[in-house]
């Protein structure tokens, strides 16, 4: 009798063990990791002084998403470690969406906060690389230096792979666009910057329409600050009263505040970079990638025709500061008086 009971117990234990063992044979639920997955771009060349997100750079080849990315072993091209890219620095990041409707400078600044980040980062699950705008050429090596080499560890629960020898070769700052700066050296090559649009501006002396080549635009950073001024110069570099561009919508010229107009310049308090975010706003081009300004006036032209004259310029400024944009009518002055 006792023996039978023991038998029963034994069978029960055996059955339990059998099923336990079977479950162990089942595969565990792990991600798939395709070893053919890889970076589609191995050399990254961001321009310093502006935040650059380098995306669409990884092909997962059917691996289970999300993958986890991690930069390891960032070093100089000669193999010495690069502490400037490992250390965190205060970086200004967006917390709330800028949409162009902000009423004060403080309102824009409230949407940004300062966080500690390394200058060069990888997004943990997308593999996108970010070069923050605070990275400047006085800290970070840039062209013509051959830059940095780094490795990326890519993993998910199904596997892990190191991608070695990716290159980071930053260009020196180009604080504004358009410019004539040689990307490799970061120095200006001279030459002119022309306006984007010029219509119906009649030359004082020539009485013919001015063309792109008749106007030269230059950017000038006066120092630190948060302002942007527009200055107009005649052929003799004497200032032209901005008020003469009487049809200009000064209030909505750029997304700036506290406009101060004198006879020599018009100044705004602005948030940098300009434009703050690459989205279309009333102050930008249609694609939102550049600020767009238009200076307008009208006059009675030859034969009593009203002519609306326009000078338009699309630009970006990345570096924070107190900037002047100087518009120099190089060959002939615009004619503001009626014919």
């Amino acid at each position: 009798m006792l023996k039978n009971k023991t038998n029963a117990l034994l069978i029960l234990i055996l059955a339990t063990l059998l099923f336990g063992a079977c479950k162990k044979l089942l595969p565990t639920d792990k991600d798939a990791f395709n070893a053919d997955a890889g970076f589609t771009q191995t050399i990254y060349q961001p321009v310093l002084g502006r935040t650059t997100v380098m995306s669409n750079n990884f092909n997962s080849q059917g691996s289970s998403l999300p993958l986890t990315f991690k930069i390891v072993g960032i070093r100089n091209s000669d193999g010495i470690s690069a502490p400037e890219l490992l250390k965190s620095f205060p970086i200004s990041v967006w917390k709330k969406a800028y949409d162009g409707s902000e009423k004060t400078l403080a309102e824009i600044e409230a949407k940004r906060v300062v966080e500690e980040h390394p200058f060069f980062e990888i997004r943990q699950h997308s593999g996108e690389l970010i070069m923050w705008s605070e990275a400047t050429s006085n800290i970070v090596k840039s062209f013509p230096d051959s830059g940095y080499v780094f490795d990326v560890e890519v993993s998910n629960s199904g596997g892990r792979k190191y991608y070695n020898g990716l290159k980071l070769q930053p260009y020196k700052e180009r604080a504004y666009e358009p410019n004539n700066i040689n990307p490799l050296t970061g120095t200006s090559t001279g030459g002119n910057i022309f306006p984007t649009r010029i219509d119906n501006i009649v030359g004082e002396a020539s009485s013919s329409f001015l063309n792109f080549g008749d106007v030269n635009i230059s950017f000038h950073r006066k120092g630190d600050g948060n302002s942007l001024s527009f200055k107009f110069l005649d052929t003799l570099s004497n200032p032209i009263d901005p008020a003469k561009f009487k049809l200009t919508n000064w209030a909505k010229l750029i997304h700036g505040f506290n406009m101060k107009m004198t006879t020599t310049e018009v100044t705004y308090d602005v948030a940098y970079p300009i434009p703050c975010v690459f989205i279309p706003t009333p102050y930008t081009t249609a694609d939102g990638r550049r600020a767009s300004v238009n200076f307008l006036y009208d006059r009675m032209g030859f034969g009593g025709v009203r002519q609306v004259a326009r000078l338009g310029f699309d630009f970006t400024i990345f570096q924070k500061g107190s900037w002047d944009i100087i518009i120099w009518f190089k060959t002939d002055n615009p004619k503001f008086t009626d014919d």
Binding site: L18, V53, W94, A97, R123
Partner: protein, 1048 residues
């Protein structure tokens, strides 16, 4: 079990004989039991028989004890003691009793000595509910048998799974994605019928779409046995891998002939239809939407002016409030009649059963009719030889309207038309009109003949030979009038034939020496299965009255033999040895060798062994005297089974005429599929352990099974690199495992002496499936989602069918709540098929940004949910008081994820106010209305920002707040359904005698009574096997029936 008592009183004189009259009836329904042999206890003498009404008159000694024994009932002994008028009520032996005889593996055995997991359902349990397909009535009755009646189409069948999923193969995509059916093998009176046939083509509308199971009248069924584990199914090897269901039809068993008539009259009602906005309400809403969310007031006005159905409200064509659903759904009256005549005894018996079933679908122009005539007979001139013959002929006739076996796409699109449009006419609503006036006639005819001869050479050695021929023919005739298709009339005519020739020759040896019993048999088995289908499609016939065959345009008309032709052969040799010691220890060993014509030439034979053990511990000495234990046993089994998959072309290749080579006609291999000479059938290997116990004299019985089932060698097509020259190859590399637990319990809470008899049964099964192997050792594979984007992920270690969805975490209450990319300052965004981004704002859905790039795209899809039910089961309650009885059946499904495509498409209808689809009132849903709302559903009205929902656009790259593939519409599909409630009354026998009726019973039944669920759609059961609730399904009807059962 027979209590042996002394019948002879030694002190008495020779007792004198008395004549006793009486009646033997079933306690359950008061029907007389005919041809019951009345024995005198303690002797081998029979005292007499009961007649067709169960009445008897016997002359026995006055102190005798009469024994009433009848198959399927508990034996009852009554001492005469001078009584001369007896009324004997026999109680049915319940299903868990061990004396019940089950025919498993073609030989009858008592349940006590079977080692496999098997459950038997009496035919009586399913005969009070009129239903075209009797298998749907098994729902919730057997643990581990998961039946989802997911189509209400009369004559079609729902899905049947025995112990979980058996295939991961999905056909089609989007709303038309279906899991390849893997229903169990049905064996009707010993002849295997493949229920997947004629049904696999139902989706494409090729065949008539009538399930072979719909051709069996439920009234003719004696019992149904469900075999679940490998040992029970081992001898049905070559097709039994998905489980086996045995259906036994009735036989004559009364010396005097019996005529039984059963009739049901029933009303089918459609379920609650969805509410729609009608007429002016709809127009006002659309205009409000355009004015509120249009670009500006000028463009909004222009938009409205350009849409005549909004602007031109007084135009008779647009000034309507049409209730489209009302045009299609209806309440119908239906009837079934069944009459059977039977009689005979064990040496000679016969049965004729005639059935008529007529059901009109709740959708107009659909319905199902069945005519059946079944006969069987047995001749046994002496104890050594017997001969059985069985002929059944069935004809099913079905109208599908404009849909096919499963879907009613035409009606779904028509019923979702705008109420502003006028009803179906020559000018409008072709889909609707099509559903109503398409002439469609589908027939399936079935002829089945079985003969079986048995000869006992010497005692304990028997030879049996069975031969059957099963012939099916299906025809489809569809005529589409010219006004439905751009003035092109169409005639479609389809016919197919399917035949199965089956033969089995068996040698059986059984012997009992003292306590040792041995039963051994060997048999060979073969079948030849053919199928061929032809179709003719004639277009542009001369007029609507002239429906072919000539006069159509040759250019667009087609005809020929369809490519689903097959010719399958199978041969098998099998043997089994069963040994038991005193019915206490049982061992069963079986081995089967199967050869299939679809296997590759490298692997023609598959070997299927199985082992079963059973220990009836109640027979151990220490328990035999216990009063509380009726029976108790432990079972364990292991075994292998196969099921043929693929075709001969997959294994051997297709050879075609390929033009001329060197002036000679050349035949070459078709480069579409590379022949796989190692192709093998799908194999299941199963471990099973079971425990049965019955205590307290039948008050409580319990059965528990646990299993581990591997489904290996599943067929799957694999793409080949183009340098091989071939496009695909079919391989056997997919495997999955199901494991789970099954429990059934039956309780009789009231004592046996109580006037009220109450039986309460409960069963439940937990099943988990895990994918264990994919082609080429891959860890995962993604099956594209097609038009709805609902992709399926196969991934090792997970449940086999995982949905791939966007994870909806809520709705942005304000624009400020949207995440901002810290680097670029841009809001979380997506794209509408172009490079212009769409930034998320208040009222938009918040989809989890899985990879953190602040862009919603296909990289943010997550695996979520399990579309396969994990816990299923049922509850049955039976109460009888005197002549009244009440039977309630319930079934439940727990833990199942449904993709509510119907709800998402309902919201999608708001995405374009200019499309004339119907608008459903959505006020009851918590959708986003204004900034700050904490909503469940996004803002449905902001139409200008939405992408294009149309299936032709690449929906994957669009901003679609009500997209199908998101977790917002993945809902819990658990439900508890009251399947049937039957109330019946049995008439008093004495009153009936005057009108020459021996028994009569009347009953009312409500079917598909109510479903308790938290699911927001109409019916959590009426969804596809992949858990997709599309609006194009055929809704399940509710029916109320009045039934009458008369026996003469």
């Amino acid at each position: 079990m027979l209590a042996v008592l002394t019948a002879i009183n030694a002190h008495a004189q020779t007792p004198k004989n008395i004549t006793i009259k009486g009646v033997v009836v079933e306690r359950a329904n008061g029907l007389g039991i005919p041809s019951l042999v009345i024995m005198i206890s303690g002797t081998q003498k029979s005292a007499g028989y009961t007649d067709s009404d169960g009445k008897f008159s016997v002359t026995v000694p006055e102190d005798a004890e009469l024994v009433f024994r009848y198959m399927g009932f508990k034996t009852q002994s009554i001492k005469v003691k001078g009584k001369t008028d007896l009324k004997v009520q026999l109680v049915e032996d319940n299903a868990t009793s061990l004396k019940q005889v089950q025919v498993i593996g073609y030989t009858p055995k008592t349940k006590e000595v079977t080692t496999g997991a098997a459950v038997t359902i009496s035919g009586k349990d399913i005969q009070d509910v009129p239903e075209a397909n009797l298998i749907s009535l098994l729902q919730g009755k057997v643990a581990g048998l998961n039946i989802q009646n997911n189509t209400g189409s009369p004559g079609a069948r729902g899905s049947i799974f025995v112990r979980g999923l058996s295939s991961i193969d999905v056909q089609g995509s989007g709303n038309n994605a279906f899991l390849t059916p893997t229903s169990p093998l049905f064996v009707i009176d010993g002849v295997p019928i493949d229920a997947n046939t004629d049904y696999e083509y139902g989706f494409s509308g090729g065949g008539p779409g009538i399930s072979p199971l719909s051709l069996i009248p439920a009234e003719d069924v004696e019992e149904i046995t469900v075999l679940r584990d490998a040992q029970a199914t081992s001898l049905y090897g070559s097709q039994g891998a998905y489980g086996v269901i045995l259906i036994t039809t009735k036989r004559g068993k009364s010396k005097t002939p019996i005529i039984q008539y059963t009739s049901n009259v029933f009303i089918n009602t459609p379920p609650n239809l969805k509410e729609v906005l009608g007429g002016n309400g709809e127009r006002t809403l659309r205009i409000w939407q355009i004015n509120t969310f249009g670009k500006d007031i000028y463009s909004a006005r222009q938009t409205i002016d350009n849409a005549p159905f909004l602007a031109d409200s007084l135009n008779a064509f647009y000034n309507n409030s049409t209730n489209w659903q009302d045009l299609f759904y209806r309440t119908t009256f239906n009837q079934t009649h069944n009459i059977s005549a039977s009689g005979g005894d064990d040496n000679f018996n016969y049965k004729v059963n005639m059935g008529y079933y007529d059901e009109n679908g709740i959708i107009k122009n659909t319905g199902f009719k069945r005519y059946s005539l079944n006969m069987n007979t047995r001749y046994r001139p002496n104890a050594k030889i017997s001969f059985n013959a069985n002929i059944s002929t069935n004809l099913g006739n079905r109208q599908n309207g404009s849909g096919n076996g499963v879907l009613q796409t035409g009606i779904a699109s028509a019923a979702s038309a705008s109420s502003l449009l006028p009803g179906p006419s020559l000018f409008n609503g072709n889909a609707a009109l099509g559903a109503l006036i398409t002439e469609n006639d589908n027939k399936t005819g079935n002829l089945k003949a079985v003969v079986e001869g048995k000869y006992e050479f010497i005692k304990s050695l028997t030879a049996t030979s069975t031969f059957s021929y099963d012939y099916n023919t299906g025809t489809v005739e569809t005529f589409t009038p010219a006004i439905l298709g751009n003035n092109v009339a169409k005639v479609y005519s389809y016919n197919d034939k399917r035949s199965t020739l089956y033969n089995r020759n068996m040698l059986n040896f059984s012997k009992t020496i003292k306590k040792h019993s041995i039963n051994a048999f060997v048999f060979n088995e073969m079948y030849i299965r053919n199928f061929q289908a032809h179709a003719i499609n004639n277009e542009q016939t001369t007029n609507d009255q002239y429906q072919g065959p000539v006069g159509s345009t040759g250019a667009t008309s087609k005809s020929g033999i369809l490519d689903n032709y097959f010719d399958l052969r199978s041969v098998a040799f099998a043997s089994q040895v069963a040994y038991d010691f005193d019915k206490k220890y049982v061992v069963e060993l079986s081995y089967r060798l199967d050869g299939l014509s679809t296997s590759g030439p490298n692997a023609p034979w598959s070997k299927n062994p199985s082992v079963g053990l059973r220990w009836n511990f109640n027979k151990e000495n220490f328990l035999t005297l216990s009063k509380w234990l009726d029976y108790g046993s432990l079972r364990a089994s292991w075994g292998k089974n196969i099921v043929p998959t693929g075709s001969v072309f997959d294994a051997f290749g297709t050879y075609d005429y390929t033009g001329f080579y060197n002036g000679n006609q050349a035949v070459g291999v078709d480069f579409g599929t590379l022949p796989n000479i190692s192709l093998v059938p799908t194999t299941t290997t199963q471990y099973n352990a079971g425990f049965d116990i019955g205590v307290l004299n039948g008050r409580l019985s319990l059965s528990f099974d646990t299993y581990y089932k591997m489904v290996d060698n599943q067929l799957r097509s694999k793409a080949l690199p183009n340098m091989t020259g071939f496009a695909n190859i079919k391989t056997n590399e997919v495997s999955l495992v199901n494991y789970g637990y099954e429990l059934s319990a039956t309780v009789r809470p009231l004592s046996k002496t109580s006037k009220v008899e109450w039986t309460l049964s409960f069963n439940g099964a937990i099943n988990k499936d895990v994918l264990t192997s994919l082609p080429d050792g891959a860890r995962q594979q993604l099956i594209e989602g097609g038009a709805t984007g609902q992709a399926i992920l196969y991934r090792l270690g997970r449940n086999s069918l995982t949905n791939i969805l966007y994870n909806t975490k809520g709705v942005y209450s304000t624009t400020d709540a949207v995440a901002v990319d810290p680097a670029t300052g841009m809001r979380y965004k997506t794209f509408n098929g172009t490079t212009t981004p769409v930034y998320f704002q208040g009222g938009d859905p918040y989809y989890a940004d899985i990879n953190g790039d602040y862009i919603l795209d296909q990289r943010d899809l997550v695996p979520a949910g399990n579309s396969f039910p994990q816990i299923t089961g049922g509850i049955t309650s039976f109460i009888r008081y005197k002549e009244f009885s009440l039977n309630v059946n319930m079934s439940y499904t727990y833990k199942r994820d449904i993709l509510n495509n119907a709800l998402s498409s309902m919201f999608q209808n708001f995405a374009n106010p200019l499309t004339a689809t119907n608008l459903v009132p959505i006020e009851q849903f918590n959708y986003w209305r204004s900034a700050g709302d904490n909503a469940t559903y996004p803002n449905p009205y902001d139409y200008l920002r939405f992408g294009n929902y149309s299936p032709t656009s690449n929906a994957g790259t669009q901003f679609l707040p009500f997209r199908y593939n998101q977790t917002l519409f993945q809902e819990d599909g658990s439900y508890l359904k009251i399947n049937t409630i039957t109330f019946s009354y049995t008439f008093n026998r004495n009153a009936l005698k005057k009108i020459g009726v021996s028994s009569m019973r009347m009953y009312v039944t409500a079917n598909n009574v109510y479903t308790f669920t938290s699911y927001s759609g109409p019916d959590p059961e009426n969804v596809s096997d992949l858990g997709r609730d599309m609006s194009a399904g055929y809704p399940s009807r509710r029916s109320y029936s009045l039934g009458l059962n008369v026996q003469f």
